[in-house]
Amino acid sequence: MSSKETIFEKSKWNVNLLGDHAIVFSLTANMQEEIIEKIIELKNWIELAKNDFIIESIPSYHTLTLVYDIQQFYKNKIAIENNHSIIAFANSLLTQFELTKKNNQLQFETEKKQENNSPIIIRIPVCYDLSLGIDLENLSTKNNISINEIIKKHCEEIYLVYCLGFLPGFAYMGKVNTKIQIARHASPRKEVMAGSVGIAGEQTGIYPMNSPGGWQIIGRTPLKIFDPNPSVLGKLQAGDRIQFYPIDFAAFEKLNEYK
């Protein structure tokens, strides 16, 4: 039995209320690839059913939160089927989800394999020039590692998006190589520029817009990671895989979408 399967067996779903208009499905509270993958799997499966009273489904690390419209829930026949209990509804969703998975085990496994063979990786250019990566020298000194080595380590890893939050389009990604992990600044900067790429502990992220922020900034991407245009919006979602690649200052200037 692989270690991955062990984790799946151990991780049991919990269902809880989050106030009077949201419910939470949760697994073991760990920042782990297998866990967020299972969260996304449940999210995608729930969205297929298109229940009109579910108005949000928000994945984050080990939880999937569904926000629902109270009035719409009671109007729906699902409410009657579940004795007007949102928790009963959530539990029946889980039962169906597990059943579907069991029945389609083979299909699931094949799909997974295909995915694994050609995972989609979003590649994001980053300019690690000292004028943009304003905490590079700090990180280099504190962690006793050369700047070239920092860049290499940051670009080596394929990161998984665990959640979005803080700002529209701000993706929390991990995990960062232990050699370049560094705690966020004790007090946040008043303004971090849009596109700035930072590290906070084992996570890395990109500031989608100018904002106050405490992450250690090691570079900047010329790409807009969030665009308020309704047909574009956020380019990253929980469950996405991304990899950074280094570009020089001239390439940064050429590609800069923030001009």
Binding site: G19, D20, Y74, C163, G165
Partner: protein, 316 residues
């Protein structure tokens, strides 16, 4: 046909019911702080109850009308003045070209709403006029198109058969909403994921002590002053989705209630959620008011919410 801001307030915005469906991208819902008062103002004007309104904090903006409108003010009483003469709340008021609307002083409540009869013409972002970063500023112009007679007798919103609502019914609803929004009853919450991490005495303290809203409150959240609430052990939480009304316990022991402009996820101890029906009342509390919290359950919360929403539907 426009309304012009001639003096900026400190935190005034345009709000409607907000936008849902984008929190997985980190986009906040925003929307009315006190949906009951905002809906009431629209209801009195025969608008769709979720029509955008001006949400006013004190010190408030001053407005000038460049054409005739019918408006209605609800929520907090900031003593509204039209051309320096006091006007009533919860009453349709006809305003004419060059009339000036201002607010004198905060008498009761924290958030006032100005509804305008008709439909707003300004652009939406993702189906909502609410936008967290956009305070209304001096010289901003907002346009409303008036409802014409035809629209009136043929309402598109089926919940509101406008012409059959009597004044008696409207006055009844005004009284019920007012007594709900400004009652001093305890604020009810449903325990959340970190509730069991509180020590037994901290749980007891939360439901038996007096709390007060701190000065630094805004549309993102209201910090709450009160006794320290210790956790069993210093706990680390993985960030998860939060909602409006989430009671967060910060590492320094301070309580924070998240409001309409909250971030989509939070990593602090999530003690519980204030129920939707009590959120407007909480939003309207002054800094001087004593707050009591009371635990409730989902069935009560849903029943109360539906009762309030039904008030906005005509009872024949």
């Amino acid at each position: 046909m426009a309304i012009k801001v001639i003096k900026s307030g400190i935190a005034d915005t345009i709000q409607d019911k907000g936008r849902y469906g984008y929190q997985h991208l980190g986009i906040q819902p925003n929307g009315f702080l006190d949906y009951q008062s905002a809906q009431l103002a629209n209801f009195i004007l025969h608008n769709t109850i979720t029509e955008p309104v001006f949400e006013i904090h004190f010190p408030a903006s001053t407005f000038c009308f460049t054409s005739n409108y019918t408006i209605c003010i609800s929520g907090a009483n900031f003593v509204p003045l039209l051309n320096e003469k006091s006007i009533a709340l919860h009453t349709p008021i006809t305003v004419k070209e060059n009339d000036v609307l201002q607010f004198l002083k905060p008498l009761q409540g924290r958030v006032a709403y100005i509804a305008i009869q008709g439909k707003i013409k300004n652009e939406t972002w993702l189906d909502s006029h609410s936008y967290f970063a956009k305070r209304i500023q001096k010289n901003d112009i907002f346009e409303w198109g008036a409802n014409n007679e035809k629209e009136f007798s043929n309402p598109t919103h089926t919940d509101l058969p406008n012409n059959s609502i009597t004044n008696e019914i409207i006055n009844g609803i005004i009284n019920e909403i007012q007594s709900q929004v400004f009652s001093t009853d305890p604020i009810r919450f449903i325990p959340g994921p970190a509730w069991e991490d509180l020590t037994p005495s901290a749980k007891e303290s939360l439901v038996s002590s007096k709390f007060q809203i701190s000065l630094q409150s805004n549309r993102m959240g209201y910090p709450i002053k009160g006794p320290l609430l210790p956790l069993h052990k210093p706990n680390q939480y993985l960030s998860a989705a939060v909602t409006r009304g989430t009671l967060q316990l910060l590492p320094n022991g301070e309580l924070m209630v998240l409001m309409a402009d909250h971030q989509t996820i939070g990593g602090y101890a999530n003690l519980g959620q204030i129920i939707l029906v009590d959120l407007p009342r909480f939003a309207q509390l002054s800094n001087q008011a004593s707050i009591h919290f009371m635990e409730t359950n989902i069935d009560t919360a849903h029943k109360l919410y539906q009762q309030i929403e039904k008030k906005f539907i005509h009872r024949s």
